[in-house]
Every structure is written in structure tokens, then in C-alpha cells.
């Protein structure tokens, strides 16, 4: 057996192929050829590393939650038998429904919010208080309001009540105007919960312009609480990491983490680690 054949058989062995008699020939060759034996060993090492490292991630939610959604979709899809031409009829129905909904929205929304945006801020009817307004990227933002138990896509200049949860899922950046002055810009994958003069950041990043506020504004995260009334700052939860990163462009920021109080000034940044971490705070 030549070395080139040995290399080919090694790869086929890794592919899970049963080499039969060629396997014996390969073994004989490897016993006599140190270079091929080393190559074979290195590939087997790599194979082992890949098998150990590429492990499936457990699904974070049960199938039942997806199956419910599928049930809804399937019910409206009315899957036809193979080969029929009706399979694509549902997008037309969807478009028609969307058109009707958009028309209704054009008629209804202006009546709900006749003019201006500050009118509702902090004084929304009902038992919740509006704490922010969607000023850009409204079609990219999904909102869940616990008191109605309904989620929907945000509309232009929509008032977001406290206790609501919002997550960005579109292509456009999402900007929220917050009560008592200030703006929040959310990443396209951000997930936040809204409160009075505060948000909790669950995912993604938020850039907050808090200059000119009369009251402090707070950004809560799993690793610390960030408060300011005049800062331009960015708070990020990096993907695949537990830490929280805080960058301050201007103004001052107070941070409370693991019982410690910190203050950051312009140009300063910090990484906050969760409680289980050995070093809860470190400079970036």
C-alpha cells in the first residue's frame, strides 16, 4: 500500500466506512510507516476533538410551544394534496388580511392619539402608566403587555406602558423616547422590560441618551444596576457571554453590583460579571 492510499483509507475510516480487508492492509502499512502513522494519529485526534466538541445544544423551550404555533399556522394554511396548485393561495389571503388591518389602523390610530406625543407620557388611561414611545423602527418592535396578555407589533408613536416587554426583531434600528426626556436606541435583537424611569435589559444592547433629564434613569441587568441622569452610555450583553459591558461617552454613571457602588465618567468602561464569577468587576 502506498502512502497516498493509506491517507485515503484513513479518511474513509473516519467517514464511518467499513474497510474490510483494506483495513488490515492499512494497519500493516501504519505499523511500518511512521509518517502515515503520525498522520493517522493526528486525524484520529482531530476526529475525537470534533466529536467531543460538537455536541448538540438542548432546545431551550419544549416543542409544545412551537407545536401550538404550528397548529395555528397549519389551520390557516389548509395544506392541499400533492401536486395541486392551491398551495400558494395563503400568501394572497395573508396580504389581503394585512391590507384590511393596515386600513383599519390608519383610521383608528389617529383617533386614539389625536396629536402630539407628550400628551400620553406618564398619563395613559387605565391602571398602567406609559413610560416610553416608539419613535423609530416601530414595525421592528414587538410588544407584550402582561395586563392584556397580548403581544403585537408596535405602531408608529405607540405608547409603551410600564410592565410591558419589548423585543426588536426587524431590520431597522428601534428608538424609544422615554418619559421625562431621553432616548433609548435598541439593537436589532434587544429584549427589554419597561418600568417607570427604568428598563431591564435581557438581551442585546441599548444606547441611552439621558442628557437633560430631571430624574435619574436606571438600566437593570443580571450583573448590576446602572443609573444616570445625564449620561450618554451604552450597555451591552454580549452574545455567548454572561458579563455586562458598560461604556460611558459623556456624563456620569452610578453602578451598583454585588453590593458595591461604582462611578464611571466620560470615556470609562467596565465589564460586570455575574455573581458566580470570581472577579465581579473588571476594566475593559
Amino acid at each position: 500500500m502506498r502512502c497516498s492510499e493509506a491517507q485515503e483509507f484513513t479518511q474513509r475510516l473516519l467517514d464511518g466506512e467499513d474497510l474490510g480487508h483494506d483495513g488490515v492492509r492499512l494497519g500493516v502499512h501504519l505499523a511500518r510507516c511512521p509518517r502515515c502513522a503520525a498522520e493517522h494519529g493526528a486525524l484520529k485526534d482531530l476526529d475525537g476533538v470534533l466529536r467531543r466538541s460538537l455536541r448538540p445544544h438542548p432546545a431551550p423551550v419544549p416543542l409544545a410551544s412551537l407545536a401550538l404555533d404550528l397548529g395555528g399556522a397549519a389551520g390557516s394554511l389548509r395544506r392541499p394534496a400533492a401536486g395541486t396548485g392551491g398551495r400558494r393561495s395563503w400568501p394572497l389571503a395573508l396580504c389581503a388580511a394585512g391590507l384590511v388591518a393596515a386600513t383599519a389602523m390608519l383610521i383608528v390610530v389617529p383617533r386614539l392619539w389625536p396629536s402630539g406625543t407628550q400628551r400620553w407620557l406618564g398619563s395613559a388611561p387605565g391602571h398602567t402608566t406609559a413610560v416610553a414611545e416608539v419613535s423609530a423602527g416601530w414595525d421592528s418592535l414587538h410588544v407584550f403587555e402582561p395586563h392584556t396578555n397580548v403581544s403585537h407589533v408596535a405602531t408608529a408613536a405607540e405608547a409603551l406602558p410600564s410592565d410591558s416587554m419589548a423585543w426588536a426583531m426587524g431590520l431597522e434600528p428601534v428608538v424609544l423616547s422615554i418619559a421625562s426626556t431621553g432616548r433609548l436606541r435598541l439593537s436589532a435583537d434587544a429584549v427589554i422590560s419597561l418600568g417607570a424611569d427604568e428598563i431591564t435589559l435581557h438581551k442585546g444592547w441599548v444606547r441611552a441618551d439621558l442628557s437633560g433629564r430631571t430624574r435619574p434613569f436606571t438600566i437593570r441587568t443580571h450583573a448590576g444596576v446602572i443609573t444616570s441622569r445625564d449620561a450618554l452610555l451604552r450597555v451591552e450583553l454580549p452574545v455567548r457571554a454572561q458579563r455586562v459591558e458598560v461604556f460611558v461617552r459623556s456624563g456620569t454613571v452610578q453602578i451598583r453590583t454585588h453590593g458595591k457602588e461604582l462611578q464611571l465618567g466620560p470615556g470609562e468602561s467596565i465589564a460586570l460579571e455575574p455573581a458566580a464569577s470570581g472577579a465581579p468587576v473588571r476594566a475593559l
Binding site: 511512521p34 470534533l50 460538537l54 459591558e245
Partner: protein, 201 residues
Amino acid sequence: MAQSALCPTTATDLELAARSQAGQQAAFEALLARHYDSMYGLARYLLENPEDALDAVQEACVRAYESLGRYDPARPFGPWLRGIVVHVCRDLGRRLRRRSVRAAQEEQPDQPLEHARSVAGTELVQQVVREALRTVPESYRLPLVLFYLQEASVREIGETLGLRAGTVRVRLHRAREMMRKRLDGQLPRGPEAAPVPGGGE
């Protein structure tokens, strides 16, 4: 929906697929339950984000339901379903890349942050492997992920990706070579893996 007798645990994929094609939604849901973890695991590796992976799985479920009429019962169901997951992940991945490029352009002043967070946690072998895998071109990465993560055979990978077995083998071999080069010096190596001078015939 009223169903005839169906035992999701003992029925084969093909039996469930046939019932699904006959319009039994419960049979289709049983199929999804059987392949859910596999679908999610694949999507998770291709998209690298749990939420995106769930979106992809959900979209793949709907697409699979829509496409049941085109499923050929003569072929195994798993690779067919994985093929749909791969297509959905490709579509979603393209949209996400466009989004991230746009976000990066908009967030130009914050670039130092990206540099600042590139170092943490790289000691873990799994992370090193994933980072290396990310740099492998998709046409080579997909067979590798299907082979190692999904434990799919060369034939099943071919059915999932619409490739011939020979092409799958070549891509697997090249993908291993790429991974080997990328991981060179980054992982501890066994004594038998050390280069041996001389030898050869």
C-alpha cells in the same frame, strides 16, 4: 382533529409521514417531536444564537408542513427535514448578516467595544473549535456539522444537501483539513499526533 389509531412511539418515520401526507396533523406533530432536538441542534450550530435557531426551527416546521406534498416516501424523512432546516438557516443567516452589517455601519463609533470583548473565555476547547468552525466555508462546514453533530452518515448528508456521496466525502476530508490547520497549535495534542520526521514509502 379526529385521528385514526396512531402510536407515535412505535410508528416509523415513513408511517407517520404517510399519515401526515393524508392530512393527519397529529402524525406530523409526532414526527416533529421525534426530530425536534435534532432540528434545533442543527439550527443552533448554523446560526449560533438560540433565538435565531428557534425562529429557524419554527419556520422549518411550517415549511415542512407546506411541502409535505413534495416529500418522497421512498426516501428517509430525517434528511429531508434537515434539508429544510438547512435552507431556512441559510435564508435567515443571510438576513441576519445584512442586519449585522447595517448595525455595524451605524455603530461605527463603538467599534473598540468589539475589540475589547474578543478575548474572554477562549480557553475552552469547545469554544476554540466553534470559532474555528465558523471560519470554514459553509459548503464544507455543513457536511462536517451534519456528520459530527447530527451523526449523519455520508449517504444521509448527501440526501440532506442534495449531493452525491463522493462529493460529501471530498468535502468532509477538506473540512477536516481546514479544521486541522485552524486548530493547529491551539489544542493539546496526543503524543501519537506529534509530527514524525522521515518515514513514507
